[in-house]
């Protein structure tokens, strides 16, 4: 589960993108997740972004059911829209059938439990999630990783150095791997004075647009009045172990359906929703308005109970089968 931004303190985490980072529990089932969230949520003096809002009892209403809840489905979460690197024009690619089927099956189960399914909720700015994430997270990573200079913080080169500059260079050069270096370089580039307007400022505007999508969908006086949005978690199932990032469009956009929650700061929970032909797990995701963790857990629990008898729930990982 990814709680609302600020629900859980970020103290102790190695910061990457401070406005996107959000710690959350992973559990064997929904009740475990609720228990863990109960323990870690709350105010912390060590993190100024942790909020004062009281932590409700997440375990209390867990089994109360979802009768009358409005759960939305958005077509924008069932396709990946990506720009052409040359022309910048957007093309669309549908999600694999198995994944959208799993979500629709879940929607059907939830409807049987008494929830009202609202279809065709527009979330038009979902497609900008990844580009905005690339810019914002890189800028924040470059800023955050500055502190690993090896003087007060982080790796210090064991070799000898002649002067301060060389020491900084060696500390960072040896301490960071390729990926952090790429992120720092890109972050410095897109936040530089002459490029900031083109990249970082624009990404921040996109972020506000993504947030507005959620505000409209969850607005209790609006058109849709959703309690939660039901989406797939990822556009594909897991990649094979030696797959290279960028091999396929779907791989590059693996985070497209989950980053909107980080941009908007809203809570989300991903639940196992079946397996594909190869036996790899498929995830379904519920997104809700700010501080609606209890509602999401309740829907998750209802779904879990309704699908408890399904055969895929008894699948075991290969590493345990071979024992």
């Amino acid at each position: 589960m990814k709680p609302t931004y600020g629900r859980v303190s970020r103290y102790g985490m190695i910061a990457f993108g401070s406005s996107l980072d959000c710690p959350g529990p992973i559990g064997r089932d929904v009740r475990d997740t609720a228990m863990m969230l109960q323990v870690i949520a709350g105010l912390d003096r060590q993190d100024s972004t942790a909020v004062k809002t009281l932590v409700p009892d997440y375990l209390q209403g867990l089994d109360e059911g979802i009768r009358g809840m409005r759960i939305g489905l958005s077509p924008d979460y069932f396709r990946i829209a990506f720009p052409d690197p040359e022309s910048g024009e957007y093309s669309e690619q549908g999600l694999p059938g198995e994944i959208s089927d799993a979500v629709h099956r879940a929607a059907h189960l939830l409807a049987q439990q008494g929830a009202e399914i609202v279809e065709d909720v527009p979330m038009p700015n979902t497609r900008y999630g990844i580009p905005a994430f690339f810019v914002i997270s890189r800028v924040e990573a470059a800023s955050n990783l500055h502190r690993f200079d090896g003087v007060k913080y982080g790796y210090r080169t064991p070799g000898t150095v002649d002067d301060l500059k060389q020491m900084y260079k060696k500390n960072r050069g040896e301490g960071f791997g390729l990926q952090p270096k790429l992120r720092i370089l890109m972050g410095m580039y897109v936040s530089a004075a002459q490029y900031s307007e083109q990249y970082y400022q624009r990404a921040l505007k996109l972020r506000a647009m993504i947030r507005r999508d959620f505000d409209q969908a969850f607005d209790q006086d609006g058109k849709y009045r959703l309690d939660a949005l039901l989406t797939p978690t990822t556009p594909t199932t897991a990649f094979p172990i030696e797959a290279v990032y960028g091999d396929s469009v779907l791989m590059q956009y693996a985070d497209q359906l989950t980053v909107p929650a980080n941009h908007a700061g809203v809570p989300g929970i991903s639940l196992p929703g079946g397996v594909d032909q190869e036996g790899l797990p498929i995830g379904i995701q519920l997104l809700g308005p700010d501080f609606s963790e209890a509602v999401l857990l309740r829907i998750g629990r209802a779904y879990e109970a309704a699908s408890a008898g399904e055969t895929w729930r008894r699948e075991q990982p290969a590493v345990l089968k071979s024992r």
Binding site: M13, D32, M35, L164, A318, S322
Partner: protein
């Protein structure tokens, strides 16, 4: 079904009812880790072996001893009838990068107590050692002004006779930011040169 396959809710209830102990749960989890975990992941991934493909590479750090101590403490609390806390006795993992209390990363200086001394190794940090700045190469400026000298680090006692820099009486000398005294430190600024012994500049000083 082994203990480690149960949900946290079940495990915690079993511990509270004293049908099992936190130590048993922990051993069950450690046993499973032993059974399925392969070599520790690293940035430098060489050729994958057959074993690498079959096993899980989940842990960078396992704090077994600390977990055992904590499990013992939970069992003691349950036995004494104290409230051990909502999730007490349930072993957990941290995913992604977290700072761990009481653990030093391998590269940390304190891991090399004999090889490495953070202060001595770096001349720029050593007290009363002159610093080669980015002005270390002679430039046209140093021809006239001499090298800038850290005013904090020079003292008449240290200044040995050598090549004396020639300071024109009213020309200010720029000093690199880090080594300015007092309130002016960390800023570029200008100080008035004086021709006292502390401003002596010797070749030996720059060794």
């Amino acid at each position: 079904m082994e203990l480690c396959d149960r949900t946290a809710y079940e495990i915690v209830s079993l511990i509270r009812q004293r049908k099992t102990s936190a130590e048993e749960v922990l051993e069950s989890v450690l046993e499973r880790i032993q059974a399925v975990e392969g070599r520790t992941g690293s940035l430098d991934v060489s050729q994958l072996t057959e074993e690498d493909r079959e096993r899980v590479h989940a842990y960078l750090t396992l704090t077994e001893e600390r977990a055992r101590k904590q499990a013992y403490e939970v069992d003691r609390k349950v036995a004494d009838g104290e409230d051990p806390g909502l999730l007490a006795g349930f072993p957990f993992q941290l995913r992604m990068s977290f700072v761990l209390k009481g653990r030093l990363p391998l590269q940390h200086p304190a891991c090399y107590p004999t090889l490495y001394h953070p202060i001595r190794q770096h001349r720029w940090l050593e007290w009363k050692q002159p610093v080669r700045s980015f002005w270390e190469k002679p430039t046209w400026m140093s021809l006239f002004l001499g090298h800038p000298v850290n005013p904090l680090l020079t003292s008449p006692a240290r200044a040995t006779p050598g090549i004396q820099a020639v300071f024109p009486a009213d020309l200010p000398v720029a000093v690199p930011p880090l080594w300015q005294p007092g309130k002016q430190s960390f800023r570029w600024g200008l100080i008035q040169p004086d021709l006292s012994a502390s401003r002596l500049h010797s070749a030996e000083l720059w060794e």
